[in-house]
């Protein structure tokens, strides 16, 4: 996807920031992009460099990641009623006739 990343990510400032003081607000914006696998490789690299050196962001990222994993694991188990597919097809078949 061509524009999946943040337009707020400033490539020109990224090298400078990565080597010295990272931009916290930029990292916050990148956090979900990285979490959702929507960040570009440059954004991911910048974020990972920052997260390694910043305990609060390290914790936030891993909490968000744990929640995302648990949501996926816990919230998709609704059992489809056994007759639902057959009912839909029966209605469609009648309509198609």
């Amino acid at each position: 996807m061509e524009s999946n990343s943040t337009d707020s990510f400033d490539k020109s400032g990224s090298d400078k920031n990565a080597s010295s003081q990272p931009d916290h607000s930029k990292c916050l914006k990148l956090l979900h992009l990285v979490l959702d696998d929507e960040a570009t490789p440059e954004e991911k690299e910048y974020f990972e460099k920052h997260v390694c050196n910043c305990m609060p962001y390290y914790e936030i990222y891993h909490v968000d990641k744990a929640i995302k994993t648990l949501v996926k694991k816990s919230c998709c188990g609704e059992n489809v009623p056994q007759d639902l597919a057959a009912e839909i097809k029966a209605k469609l078949f009648q309509r198609a006739d």
């Binding site: 979900h32 909490v63 648990l70 996926k72 489809v80 469609l92």
Partner: protein, 193 residues
């Protein structure tokens, strides 16, 4: 879609597309419907309604493209336009108010740091599920689409008819609200920061 973009399918082709490309998603569709309506009968009706519409408008669907996103979009529209009105679950959120809020500076305000990984990992599925269900439908929906169903931001934007920037801010806000619910739960279980 203009007439020239509509597909010319025979009845047999339509049935094949329906069986091979649409029906495999009945599980995620039912789960989404249930988490929108919180009622088994309503969820069943919503899924049926969605599939009947999908078949009716099947000439707008190009074979081999993203059937799952197409079906989710139909379901979302059905829920908002038809179903929400008669659903046992009344709409709690005024759309205009929500969008105004999304566009405010508050969106990036909160960083919840008092929830820790081990607290989250100790939670059982019911806590997560209840916390998700307690969110207003617009926030719940973005988390379902992204975290449960794995849709990308551009796909969510199409399903929800909103810009990608709004998808991101809504998701950000939804996750913070979810964390607030989980933090409250963790506190009630005796966790301390």
């Amino acid at each position: 879609m203009s007439d020239s973009q509509r597909q010319n399918y025979t009845q047999k082709e339509k049935e094949l597309i329906f069986d091979k490309e649409f029906m495999p998603f009945i599980g995620p569709m039912y789960n989404f419907a249930f988490r929108l309506t919180f009622d088994e009968d309503d969820a069943k009706d919503l899924v049926q309604d969605t599939y009947l519409k999908a078949f009716r408008f099947i000439t707008s669907f190009e074979r081999g493209t993203n059937a799952k996103a197409w079906l989710f979009r139909i379901m979302k529209n059905s829920f908002i336009n038809d179903f929400r009105k008669k659903s046992k679950q009344p709409a709690k959120v005024d759309y205009q108010e929500v969008e105004t809020f999304y566009n405010s500076d508050d969106v990036d305000r909160s960083i919840t740091t008092d929830l820790r990984v081990e607290m989250v990992q100790d939670m059982i599925g019911d806590e997560i599920s209840n916390a998700l269900n307690s969110l207003d439908v617009d926030f719940r929906t973005v988390i379902i689409l992204c975290d449960l169903e794995g849709f990308k931001y551009d796909e969510m934007a199409k399903i929800l008819d909103i810009p990608i920037g709004t998808v991101r801010s809504r998701l950000h806000r939804a996750r913070n609200l979810l964390k607030e619910k989980l933090r409250d739960y963790a506190k009630s279980m005796g966790y301390k920061n």
